[in-house]
Structure formats: structure tokens, C-alpha cells
Symmetry: C2
Subunit: 278 residues, 2 copies
């Protein structure tokens, strides 16, 4: 497995793969790899000849009061997991090679970013779009794999690929959960035992939405109210609860199968998100 630290070497490596007729799959991550990330790697491996994983805790997608400084870094373990999983190359850049001191160009999204996580995290998705655009230009993938866990992020990246004509396919891989239903997240490591128990409220709230669809309920507002109540009763501080169109992310008033239910809530100081397609 190659460990590559500069954009130029990474571009050269990917071009060499293309020259020999191989397709490249990219899994962009912030490291601290868990089963969710490993499933993205497996998905990339089924679609491409060689898989590149990027490990980069991107400063520009964290707000000033967010957890950039304490975000977990486990580089040695991450590299070992990538090696075990058959990853061909890891891109592991320093922030100083990713962002020039006078960097002045960014990618902005102004249609899907306003609501949900975007409302709570101003600038977050522009930071995400910019770093992902850079990673696309650096790793030159044929396929890029993102997790459904960050549903809004995946929708925004698909929009960016469409609007800027990136020559690649975006694949969104399913959420991986612990046996009790908690969605895998690098931030789960922040949770105390009691907070982890609270965190189960997110997937249970999504279950309420699925049950409502199954029983033919149509009042989305009423279902959202019930989900919110469930989160609060679990001891969580709600950030948002919504049922939305899968592409536009606009809230719906009439519940129907094929929509997406989205939740974000704090267990103590830790912000957790989850979603499900209904």
C-alpha cells in the first residue's frame, strides 16, 4: 500500500493507474476509520480496480466552536485497517499542503445547504465542497464513495459533481449501525455510557417515521412532532427533525414512501445525526 502525502504525487499515481487501464475509486474520510468507512472501501473495491482512501481532518469544514482540535486522530490504526482491507493507496496530506496561506478560491453550494445541518453549521458545506473538489482533482477517481449517514453531504456532493461536471460517478453506500441501531460515527467515541443510551433515540425516532409510512399516515408534520417528542424524552437536545424530498431536501407536508427522514440531536455535548429513506 502506498502512503502519499503530496497532491502532485497523488495525481501522478492516479494517472499511472489510468494509463495502465485501471479504474480508481476514492473514499474521502477524516480518518478514525470504523466499520462504516470500511464498508465504503468495500463498495469502492466492487466498483473499481484500485481504491484510494484519503485521511484528512479538513479544518475548513469545522466552525469556530466545533470539535476540530479534539476530533479523534488515529492515523496508525487507520493505515493498518486500510492495508488489511486491500486499499492500494492512502492520501495523507498535511493542512499546509492542502491550503496555501493566501488561498482565495472556494466552491459554494446555495440550494441544498441552507437547511438541516447547513442551518446549524454555517460554512460547513462550502468547506466540504471545496475540500472534496480538491480531493477529486488530486485523486482523479472514476468513482467516489460517500456514506448515506451524512445524507445532506452526499446530496450536495452529487449536486456539485453535476453542476461542475466532475468526470466521475458518486456512489452513496448504506449506513452501518451497531447491533442496537446506533449509526456508526467517529464522534460516538465522545459518548459516555449514559449518552450512548440516549443516542439510541435517533434511530428509534426514524423508526417512528418508517412505521407511520407503513400504516399509511399522511400528515408529515404530525410525524415530525412525534419524532421530536421521542428525541426529547430520550434526553436528547434536538437540533432538527425533518421529513424531506430525497433530492431537493425541501420539507414535505404529505408523508410518502421514498422520502428521507432526518434527525440531529445532542447527547450531552456530542452532536449526532441519522437518517433513513422511508
Amino acid at each position: 500500500m502506498e502512503v502519499i502525502i503530496t497532491p502532485e504525487e497523488m495525481q501522478g499515481w492516479s494517472r499511472q493507474q489510468h494509463r495502465t487501464g485501471l479504474t480508481v475509486g476514492l473514499v474521502p474520510t477524516m480518518g478514525c476509520l470504523h466499520e462504516g468507512h470500511l464498508s465504503l472501501i468495500d463498495t469502492a473495491a466492487t466498483r473499481c480496480d484500485v481504491v484510494v482512501v484519503s485521511l484528512f481532518v479538513n479544518p475548513t469544514q469545522f466552525g469556530p466552536n466545533e470539535d476540530f482540535a479534539k476530533y479523534p486522530r488515529t492515523v496508525e490504526e487507520d493505515l493498518a485497517r486500510c492495508r488489511e482491507r486491500g486499499v492500494a493507496a492512502v492520501f495523507l496530506p498535511q493542512a499546509a499542503v492542502m491550503y496555501a496561506g493566501d488561498a482565495s478560491v472556494s466552491v459554494v453550494e446555495e440550494g441544498l445547504s441552507g437547511r438541516w445541518c447547513g442551518a446549524s453549521r454555517p460554512g460547513h458545506f462550502n468547506g466540504v465542497c471545496t475540500v472534496v473538489a480538491k480531493l477529486f482533482n488530486i485523486a482523479l477517481p472514476d468513482v467516489a464513495v460517500f456514506g448515506q449517514k451524512d445524507y445532506q453531504q452526499a446530496a450536495i456532493i452529487k449536486r456539485m459533481v453535476r453542476d461542475l461536471n466532475f468526470p466521475l460517478e458518486v456512489v452513496v453506500a448504506p449506513i452501518i449501525r451497531d447491533d442496537d441501531g446506533l449509526a456508526k460515527s467517529s464522534r460516538n467515541g465522545y459518548l459516555s455510557v449514559a449518552e450512548r443510551e440516549m443516542g439510541l433515540g435517533l434511530s428509534r425516532a426514524l423508526g417512528l417515521a418508517r412505521a407511520a409510512v407503513a400504516t399509511g399516515e399522511s400528515d408529515a408534520g404530525e410525524v415530525v412532532r412525534r419524532m421530536r417528542q421521542h428525541l426529547t424524552e430520550a434526553g436528547l437536545r434536538v437540533d432538527y427533525v425533518g421529513i424531506a424530498d430525497v433530492e431537493t431536501l425541501e420539507p414535505v407536508s404529505v408523508l410518502a414512501a421514498g422520502q428521507v427522514a432526518l434527525v440531529a440531536a445532542y447527547a450531552g455535548k456530542t452532536r449526532l445525526i441519522d437518517n433513513t429513506i422511508l
Copy 2:
């Protein structure tokens, strides 16, 4: 010569060139090709195996009161000139395939765009960055050639390539002028005989700056004042006159060789720009 109208076909064509080991040079234009554009094509041909010219009058880089509707379109002549010049493929898209109705992602530049043309044309350079990013992802060039005539544009594109890690080299080719010094421009066709005469004031004003450097003058403000006076006396309405650092585009106070002198002025209703490296 191939004439390609969809992004997907263009990507496929360029990938095929790369697969056969050929390098691709891109010359992005808005059509109405003149000797300036043809020199860019020649520059691309000296650097790459095959040359792609894009012909696209990009609506998003025109302001609401600018000349998008009347901007000259000469597609048949443009295609003939490209064919004569040995261009391998022309990319000729319709606006509807370039911009989805709900397009929401753009590329913005916030360091070099504030002054000069950017001050007179709000949003112009974000429109330029966005369409050029799209054209890079569509034509997948190894080298992209821009004209020095649009000096600020070229500086901003170089910044974009650096900050978003586009895997290509930007080449800036020299300004081509008529025998009397007027820089070639598609907009010169708007000029009456009297306005064209006025337009010579731009290159003469730049000559004042070159002469000042040659004679060891150091007060950039005084030279700018003299240039402005020259433009006004020629009958032009001045938009801006400046002497700036070649990379940051910040105005300088001490004149020196290696800086760039920039002018923009109206001859009647037609806005003309010009520049020179001192």
C-alpha cells in the same frame, strides 16, 4: 475536426486521447475568433498533441446591463478558422446543457477579484471561474491557454488551478495587437471609426508607464495620474487605471520593472481593456 456538443461526449473524447498517450490543450473562448485567439491555439499546439477549442458565450459572466445579448456570434467562421488552424475538436455546447435550471454550485474567488475589472463587473469573475472549472472537467486538458489581454482573469484562473488542485498547467499567451497598437478584442467590432481612434489611447497610456520605468521614475501614483489624463484627453471615459503587483494585483506606490500596468476605459458605449508587464 470533431464538433462536440455534450459534456459527456467531450469527456469521452479527451479520455480517449489520454488513453492513446496524447496530451490535450484547451483554449476556452466565447467565439468570434480573431488573431488573438488563433495565437492561443498556436501556443496550445506547441505544448500539446491535440488542441480543443471551446466556443461558448457564457451567460453567467455577464452582468444584467452588459452585452450578453448582442455579444457577436460567428459560429460558422469560428469553426472554419479552427479547422484551418489544425484544431482537433471544438466543444460547442448550448447554455441549457451547461447549466441545469436548478444549478446551485459555483466557484468563487475572493482575493484577486475585488479590484479592477472585478470592481466594475460584480459577479463576473465568479461566473468565469465556474465556467472554466466546468470546461476543465469537461475537456480534461493537460494545458489550458489564456490570453494576457484579460490579465486579471488569467491571474484568477491560475489561482483557481492552484487552490482547487486542477491537474493541469495554465499558460498565458501574449497580447496580439493591430499594427497601430489596439489590442485585438471581439468587442472592437462595436467601435465606430472615431471610437476606434479613441481606443488607441489605451495602448499609448500603457506606453507612458513603460517609458516612466525606462527613465527610472518611482512615483507610481504620478504615472497613473498621467495615464489617466492621457485616456481622458483621447476622449475615453476611464473605468480604471492602475499599476499593480503581477501576482497579488495589489496597487503599488513605488514603480518598478516587473509590475503590471492595467487600463480599462469606454470608447462610446464599448468597454475596452489593455495591460502591459513593465
